[in-house]
Subunit: 275 residues, 2 copies
């Protein structure tokens, strides 16, 4: 089984102030996924099965940020405001998930939406409990479960609600379901020693085994600008330490997702255990 | 806590061949719910809390029926077809749920969508397992969880998938969470001894304690025509036998839902235990 992350910056116009889908990317990537699934069926190297996790991009971040979901609330009025923001954010990320599942189905992929806020609860913003039996059952039946960054209830009384990132979902399900490959499609080639969008001398780090690799390169401050890359890497390093490798690739480059899902080596950063 | 069912025939144009919402009903009912919630806050008689469950109407039935979800599949080709139908049906009922949650939120009700196919599994079309802790937690935080008729995985190997009706959801959650009141908003005044849409002599049955009440009135054959009323009654009689009363009322009549949620006695059929 493989896990594929589609970053919010790929499937939505992340800078947009209102929810805006990136239909070109989405339709192209859906075709690439379909091609890869067809290839996997013809090859004995693949234990069929794919879970897709997508980010929220402009369908989630503006609302979660406006209403400060995940920050401590200050009195009952603030709590009411945050609850309204929770309801609003949940609704928009669900709409994004609908759009994505529909485009996948147009490519004859039997997508099944899995809503995190229906079965996940966090404590201090980390998943406390989530039963994955149903996801396993969907996989066994031949569906492609599609999860996503969502807002969820949190057991910490000072916040009550939290933002659950797609990256944390990947961390959690990869630990429990042990995929053969974890592929993260982003809008950059991988992890760089400097911000590649600002510095043309930036070098791609092809292998990463600890956050110290980054610190020694003075890369973390730049990286944080490009969509919370450090948070992403921390989730992936946890997986690397228990032997699950993952790779960050550029989903804006045509066919890279398809190639990666077909088991080919492509340009990107592999997050792996230090030998 | 109360449970309110909004029938698919109320919130959608059930006879429509393509998914069509009944916006007039939906907006009016959302206002009635908001009024009732406001009233409940001012009264000590109410242990605040509301769960809404809605049917699928024209957003679900045409697809589930076309693809025969819940019927045994005949070979792998038929299974593939049913999986496609499952994906399609799940997508449409989710869209209906989005619309309903949005209209509720426009009335400042902090609706939270709960997707049954994300946490419920059936065996032979009856719920085998569903963890309701999260729903309880949403209620305690002051949200209004909104569940709905959905397609779900089924453990019976000959069918693999099933249609989960809103009525079965109500049966399951009422047994576990023991609401003070269960109200079902339908497009008829309640249960009649004859089909009220065809026979103007039909009499409303104001109290029902067993299916024999119906059989003795030769009412079941007529009733089946009006939206699977017998199936609904069976679910509710199970609740009645463990002491949970429910009432079927006409949600097309203005203010009936509001009055019922405010604890008033309104025209309808009460399903209760035989004393």
């Amino acid at each position: 089984m493989m896990i594929l992350k589609l970053g919010g910056s790929i499937i939505t116009e992340k800078g947009a102030k209102t929810p805006t889908i990136n239909n070109n990317n989405l339709k192209r990537i859906a075709k690439e996924i379909k091609n890869a699934l067809n290839y996997q069926k013809t090859s004995k190297d693949f234990n069929n099965g794919l879970i897709i996790v997508h980010g929220a991009g402009s369908f989630g971040h503006p609302f979660a940020s406006d209403y400060e979901i995940g920050k401590p609330f200050n009195g009952s009025e603030d709590l009411e405001k945050k609850k309204k923001g929770f309801s609003l954010t949940q609704s928009w990320v669900k709409k994004l998930n609908s759009l994505i599942c529909d485009v996948l189905r147009e490519e004859n992929i039997n997508s099944v939406s899995i809503q995190p806020s229906s079965f996940v609860i966090t404590r201090n913003k980390r998943i406390e409990h989530a039963n994955l039996d149903l996801i396993n059952q969907y996989l066994e039946t031949g569906f492609v479960p599609v999860l996503y960054g969502d807002v969820v209830l949190d057991l910490e009384k000072s916040i009550k609600m939290a933002v659950l990132s797609g990256d944390q979902i990947i961390n959690y399900i990869a630990k429990k379901l042990v995929p053969e490959r974890v592929i993260l499609g982003t809008d950059v080639d991988g992890v760089f020693n400097k911000n590649p969008k600002k510095d043309y001398n930036a070098q791609l780090i092809t292998e990463l085994t600890s956050l110290k690799d980054l610190e020694s390169m003075d890369a973390t401050t730049n990286i944080d600008v490009t969509g919370g890359m450090v948070g992403k890497i921390k989730e992936l390093l946890e997986l690397a330490h228990i032997g699950i490798e993952s790779e960050i690739i550029n989903a804006e480059c045509e066919n890279l997702i398809e190639k990666a899902l077909c088991g080919q080596k492509v340009r990107g950063t592999i997050i792996k255990k230090n030998k």
